[in-house]
């Protein structure tokens, strides 16, 4: 099985079908990233397709200095950011979704050790993060949930490391305040 570099060389020389192999290799990563910003499975699939088409269009710009998966991740995060910006405008026109029982119980519980499943946590964060700007949401998701470094975040959103650190601090404060508002609902 050839590595990404060989595959990319073949694709650049006209072997379009080999791009399907690139998709198969990296689709899990792309879906995992997009799922952090969009919970509707069909929309995630559409966004993933949009991401890979962008990757295809930009293949000529990939110089191989960074690993290919980092480059794809960067394109994926930018696609997610564009999506969040569009959704932000739409969300202003519709009401807030309801939280599930598990999520509400956990939010109202004083016991810090009470269990919380991934689905409920994602519901809570989805709702609270609506108070954040799309870029703040990306920054906090990458730092706190995905555990990415400041360098990776700054490369993904196109800001300096200092700007990312400042943004993380502010976004975290905003998120905490949004969560406190949810507790009081």
């Amino acid at each position: 099985m050839s590595d990404d570099a060989e595959l990319l060389e073949r694709i650049r020389n006209g072997a379009t079908d080999d791009f399907a192999e690139i998709v198969r290799r990296h689709q899990s990563r792309v879906f995992a990233i997009l799922h952090r910003y969009e919970r509707d499975a069909q929309k995630v699939e559409d966004l993933a397709q949009e991401t890979f088409v962008k990757v295809w269009r930009a293949l000529g710009q990939f110089d191989g200095r960074a690993p290919f998966e980092h480059w794809i991740s960067k394109i994926t995060v930018r696609t997610a950011l564009d999506h969040l910006r569009k959704e932000k405008r739409r969300q202003n026109e519709i009401g807030l979704p309801e939280l599930g029982e598990d999520a509400l119980d956990w939010l109202r519980s004083d016991n810090e050790k009470s269990e919380l499943d991934g689905r409920a946590a994602a519901e809570i964060l989805e709702l609270a993060m609506r108070e954040l700007s799309p870029t703040d949401r990306v920054v906090i998701t990458m730092q706190e949930i995905e555990g990415r470094s400041v360098k990776e975040i700054s490369a993904a959103i196109g800001s300096s490391g200092v700007a990312v650190r400042v943004r993380v601090l502010r976004a975290r404060a905003k998120l905490k305040s949004a969560l406190e508002k949810l507790v009081k609902l």
């Binding site: 791009f19 399907a20 397709q49 890979f52 295809w56 689905r119 946590a121 994602a122 995905e146």
Partner: protein
């Protein structure tokens, strides 16, 4: 909400399993890429590239305009209608370069 609870929230969110791609996802992407390849070249080109492509037509149009202008000038001269250069010479001779002129 305290830090410990917030940390727990992030950890739980991390554990949520992502949507899995459909079986024919890669094939779907390939179809989209092929459609992309079939889109007219002009849509994917920059304004400069498009200008380059139009260059032969623009050059022909410019040459036709010059020829048309020369032909019109020649025809007017033959017909005895004073042209612009005659007018300028006349003004120079009669007024501008006279001792009392500018």
């Amino acid at each position: 909400m305290n830090e410990q609870k917030l940390k727990k929230l992030f950890e739980a969110a991390w554990s949520e399993t992502a949507t899995t791609p459909s079986v024919d996802f890669a094939a779907g992407v390939l179809r989209a890429v092929r459609r992309e390849k079939q889109t007219p070249l002009r849509e994917t080109l920059s304004a400069f590239d498009q200008l380059n492509l139009l260059f032969p037509k623009l050059a022909c149009a410019a040459a036709a305009m010059i020829v048309l202008g020369l032909a019109a000038d020649f025809a007017l001269t033959v017909a005895g209608v004073p042209n612009l250069s005659d007018g300028v010479s006349q003004i120079s001779a009669q007024w501008l370069l006279m001792p009392g002129g500018l």
